[in-house]
């Protein structure tokens, strides 16, 4: 599991006003976003027309993470603070701890797909607190999980509102609903305590599942279990004979290990010859990625109707990434033996 810095939780507990929550929610936006590049990298490493079931599972999680990022942006806007997305500092440096995570704990990188990657990283990112190991926030623990962080945030929002703080002072016109893309039950305007709590609850459940089921309330398998399905190459299905009501006894998920591009781990633009096609397409990829951040900034700066344009860029990013990943990585005029990987770097200028 991602261990959230103790200091973050302490600050959350110490918050006395909506304003005190701003940095913490901005951190949550960065955290939600930071899961997308590793997931996309693994997805893009799958060769065209091969391993499509795995591709679809990872893709479905990416779509959810986009939703979670949108929800946290809605929350920050509702609290009257502008989310900062179009900013070089918004982009994590991979490999490294995820934003708000503890240094030296879970190090997340940009790597090609492998079965091991599911257990070593993706499941850890999404891992729920084990009920037995659960320790309440505010006790001696050195860390908290993402779920605990959001639960603490819910508690704080309730507490501040109950003590008379006017929290939801943001312009409701900045709320993004993306009608037609996400169901109205999953993405809605945050305008008060109830809508804020409901929205945060969705993030917790979709990542971890509920405390009694691997499913979130919408009936979809939580991310942790979707990645676990891939790691076992079996679908998780209801199983009355099993203790928990579910078992990995569903259909086999096919996997062709030869149909994965050997991507350069944690690819940087600078590690590709500028004159090579991989180098040029990496720069294009970073530029499209940066355009996506700028488009999202506009969406959350009061132009929710630009959401479609942002999705258009997401689609372009996927295409650019697929082509990039099919190219050899060339450095100092020689192939490195690996393919070029997606470069999630902030590049506002197409050079």
């Amino acid at each position: 599991m991602i261990k959230i810095q103790r200091e973050v939780i302490d600050r959350l507990h110490a918050a006395n006003s909506g304003r005190d929550l701003h940095d913490l929610v901005q951190g949550a936006i960065r955290l939600e976003h930071s899961t997308i590049p590793p997931y996309l990298t693994a997805m893009l490493s799958l060769k065209p027309e091969k391993n499509r079931e795995i591709w679809s599972i990872i893709h479905s999680v990416v779509i959810d993470e986009m939703l979670h990022m949108t929800i946290t942006c809605n929350l920050l806007n509702a609290l009257g603070k502008r989310p900062q997305i179009d900013d070089p500092g918004f982009v994590p440096n991979y490999p490294g701890p995820l934003p708000t995570g503890i240094d030296g704990d879970l190090i997340v990188g940009l790597e090609p797909f492998s079965i091991d990657l599911m257990g070593s990283t993706f499941m850890k990112i999404e891992e729920p607190e084990h009920p037995i190991a659960f320790k309440a926030a505010g006790t001696e623990t050195e860390y908290a999980t993402i779920g605990q962080f959001y639960r603490a945030l819910i508690d704080k929002i309730r507490e501040l509102a109950a003590s008379g703080n006017e929290l939801f002072i943001g312009d409701p016109a900045r709320q993004v609903m993306a009608k037609g893309w996400y169901a109205a039950e999953r993405l809605f305007a945050i305008v008060d305590v109830d809508t804020a709590v409901n929205a945060l609850q969705i993030i917790i459940e979709e990542g971890e599942g509920t405390s009694v089921s691997p499913l979130a309330e919408d009936g979809e398998l939580a991310h942790y279990y979707r990645f676990q399905e891939i790691s076992r190459l079996r679908r998780l299905i209801p199983d009355p004979t099993s203790e928990n009501g579910y078992s990995f006894s569903g259909p086999v998920i096919p996997f062709d290990s030869a149909a994965v591009y050997p991507l350069t781990k944690n690819q940087k633009m600078i590690d590709l010859d500028a004159s090579s096609e991989g180098g040029r397409r990496a720069r294009q990829f970073s530029f499209v990625y940066t355009k996506l951040l700028k488009a999202l900034q506009r969406v959350f700066d009061g132009e929710p109707q630009q959401f479609g344009a942002a999705l258009g860029l997401m689609y372009e990013l996927k295409l650019a990434g697929q082509i990039l990943c099919s190219l050899p990585a060339i450095k100092n005029n020689s192939p490195t033996g690996f393919n070029a990987g997606p470069t999630f770097e902030y590049a506002p200028k197409n050079t």
């Binding site: 065209p48 027309e49 037609g180 893309w181 010859d273 004159s275 090579s276 096609e277 991989g278 180098g279 040029r280 720069r283 294009q284 530029f287 499209v288 940066t290 355009k291 700028k294 488009a295 900034q297 506009r298 630009q306 479609g308 344009a309 999705l311 258009g312 860029l313 689609y315 372009e316 996927k318 295409l319 697929q322 082509i323 060339i330 506002p348 200028k349 197409n350 050079t351």
Partner: protein, 638 residues
């Protein structure tokens, strides 16, 4: 007024044009057969964008120097917060005016990203295609693969000015001198890489200019004066030695000549070729000069003694970085006498020879008459129509009351002839403008696998002996300078569209032609994939056609087929919970299992050469060559 006047910005850099190539072959539209010829970029996405482009020079009003202006070095890019523009052909049978859709042009500070200005590039098609890497093409040694270059002239609309513009005197002058917050732009493109052995695969070089625009002027070509291209006999047939050039006498008594898309280049980077070193005809050439011919009778190749022509000045085209510094533009002051001469006599490029004679190279059109269609690429559904606007000039002045004749052009398919109706004669008004109405009726299915038909119309103020538009001396290419329309086959929107019967036959074509979608995203010809991505598809199929996310990217689907797709995806109610109608599999058009396209280098290389041959053949078609040999110019009869 256009970038031919000042203030003017010059920029240079590179572009990416990731055009797809499977749709270049008619045979590939037959979905029952695997594509045999894939072309040099079968997984193209149609993306067009600038990269590494920056402002390399600027001139203030009246040509004042702007070397220290903040505009220098600004980055020139596409939009920074939406999808890339797209470059698409009209049709496999018409690949000679590829258009750029959904492009924004943005100038900004490369360090701070602060905006100078951004405007929407009015959709336009390239013109004046010719082989610029001639010596390499003749030696069959073109590392980049595509020796031809083309140029786009357009306007940037709805220009938004940013803080950098406030600090730049040149941009302030531009803003003040232009009409309607629109500016004129030219993109001269060349040095395109077919070869995927090179990191520059699917990219090329660009030199462009931006200047003011007048609402009374054409948007997609330069008004004023036109110098005809100059042909040269080569072992491979007639070739263009100097391409078409535009010129204009500006109100400040300067004459400007635009060689931005006229000179040969020796490599893909745009190193200008020394004319004295192409063949032997100009071996004794000492300088390239611009001037005025003594009378209408002079032809290319004529020698004039010193004093016969009015020499306005030399063009220092071989100096270091001349192209990137000037955009290919040169201007010369006119005194009273030379101005009087230039206003009424043919302008010309000449070679000053070692014996002091002047050899006529490119000369102005016959009698200074220049007539061109502004918009000229149309997509028409049965019952639809479009207005084509023509502008006419004589020695740069508006030419009113000029009859223009029209007929089908040899470069179109034009069958059945009733598919496109048009006036055979139109006459320019007192402003030298004329409108042509073209109307479409259902052409049926004259091509078995491709929707509709391609029609091309030739036009000219002159008629030949057969009563057809005569391009001799017009400054235009009879094959390419036509009005071209894709007229779509009639299609009735079904009451209740079904997958097998109505949708799959449409999508199967796209799946075959654009494997990037099928291989990398989802299968367009698969019901489940379509259902899964229903929302995305509905968004894309419902965008305005100018939107960069419009689907189909190629913009070649008839209105009713598009509406059928939308109707099916919405399933009338727009309720996504309703499954998409599948219908009876028996209603499906049989599609055999296709062989998977394999993308081999070998094929890519061979096709590069094939494309060159095809371009050469079209550029120097027999009829054209016949005329060239008599007039030494590129014009000919359609």
């Amino acid at each position: 007024m256009s970038y031919l006047e000042t203030p003017r910005i010059v920029f240079a850099g590179r572009f990416i044009s990731d055009v797809s190539t499977i749709n270049n072959e008619d045979a590939n539209f037959n979905v029952a057969v695997s594509p045999a010829i894939l072309g040099w970029n079968p997984r193209g996405s149609a993306i067009f964008d600038f990269y590494e482009c920056k402002v390399t020079a600027a001139e203030g009003t009246n040509g004042s120097s702007a070397a220290d202006d903040p505009v220098m070095g600004l980055s020139v890019s596409g939009a920074n917060d939406r999808s890339s523009a797209k470059m698409v052909d009209l049709d496999p049978d018409w690949q000679f005016s590829s258009e750029i859709w959904g492009l924004s042009v943005r100038l900004s500070d490369p360090g701070t990203q602060e905006l100078a200005f951004e405007g929407t590039f009015a959709v336009s098609a390239f013109r004046d295609l010719f082989i610029r890497q001639l010596t390499q093409a003749l030696a069959k040694n073109i590392p980049n693969g595509q020796p031809s270059g083309g140029r786009y002239i357009s306007v940037l609309k709805n220009v938004r000015w940013g803080p950098v513009a406030d600090r730049s005197p040149v941009l302030q002058q531009l803003r003040q001198s232009t009409d309607d917050d629109e500016v004129s732009i030219v993109l001269n493109m060349f040095g395109y890489y077919y070869s995927d052995a090179d990191g520059r695969h699917t990219t090329g070089a660009i030199v462009g200019c931006i200047g003011p625009h007048r609402r009374s002027e054409p948007q997609f070509f330069n008004s004023g004066r036109r110098l005809q291209s100059l042909a040269l006999p080569t072992p491979g047939g007639q070739s263009t030695l100097v391409g078409p050039a535009d010129a204009r006498i500006n109100p400040d008594d300067n004459v400007v000549v635009d060689l931005g898309h006229a000179l040969l280049i020796s490599d893909a980077d745009g190193s200008i070729t020394d004319l004295a070193k192409v063949g032997t005809a100009l071996a004794d050439m000492k300088a390239l000069v611009f001037g005025v011919l003594p009378d209408e009778a002079q032809k290319p190749g004529d020698r004039l003694k010193d004093g016969q022509a009015t020499i306005l000045g030399e063009i220092d085209y071989l100096s270091v970085n001349w192209y990137q510094r000037t955009g290919g533009l040169s201007s010369f002051p006119l005194d009273r006498i030379s101005k009087a001469k230039a206003l009424t006599h043919p302008l010309a490029l000449m070679a000053r020879m070692s014996d002091g004679d002047f050899l006529v190279l490119n000369r102005e059109t016959q009698d200074g008459l220049f007539v061109r269609a502004d918009n000229f690429v149309e997509r028409l559904d049965p019952g639809g129509s479009a207005e084509i606007e023509f502008f006419s000039y004589r020695h740069g002045q508006i030419a009113p009351n000029l009859p223009l004749s029209l007929s089908f052009a040899a470069s179109g398919n034009n069958t059945p002839p009733g598919g496109l109706t048009f006036q055979q004669t139109i006459t320019t008004d007192q402003n030298g403008r004329a409108k042509l109405l073209i109307s479409a009726t259902d052409p049926g299915q004259p091509r078995p696998d491709i929707d509709g038909q391609i029609y091309a119309l030739a036009y000219s103020p002159r008629k030949n002996a057969a009563g057809q538009p005569d391009y001799t001396g017009s400054g235009l290419n009879p094959n390419f300078d036509v009005v071209v329309a894709h007229v779509r086959t009639s299609f009735a929107i079904p009451e209740r569209p079904e997958w097998y019967r109505d949708i799959q036959p449409i999508m199967a074509t796209y799946a075959q032609l654009y494997p990037i979608m099928n291989r990398h995203l989802f299968k367009l010809d698969d019901y489940d994939a379509m259902a899964e991505h229903r929302k995305l598809l509905l968004l894309a199929f419902s965008r305005p056609i100018e939107d960069p996310n419009y689907m189909p990217v190629t913009r070649d689907l008839s209105k009713n087929k598009l509406l059928t797709l939308v109707k099916w995806l919405e399933k009338e109610t727009g309720d996504f919970a309703n499954p998409l109608v599948k219908g009876d599999p028996a209603a499906s058009t049989p599609v055999i299992t296709r062989r998977k396209p394999s993308f081999t280098m070998r094929q890519t290389r061979e096709l590069g050469e094939e494309d060159i041959k095809r371009a050469m053949a079209l550029l120097f078609a027999k009829e054209t060559a016949d005329v060239l040999s008599t007039t030494s110019s590129q014009e000919g009869r359609p």
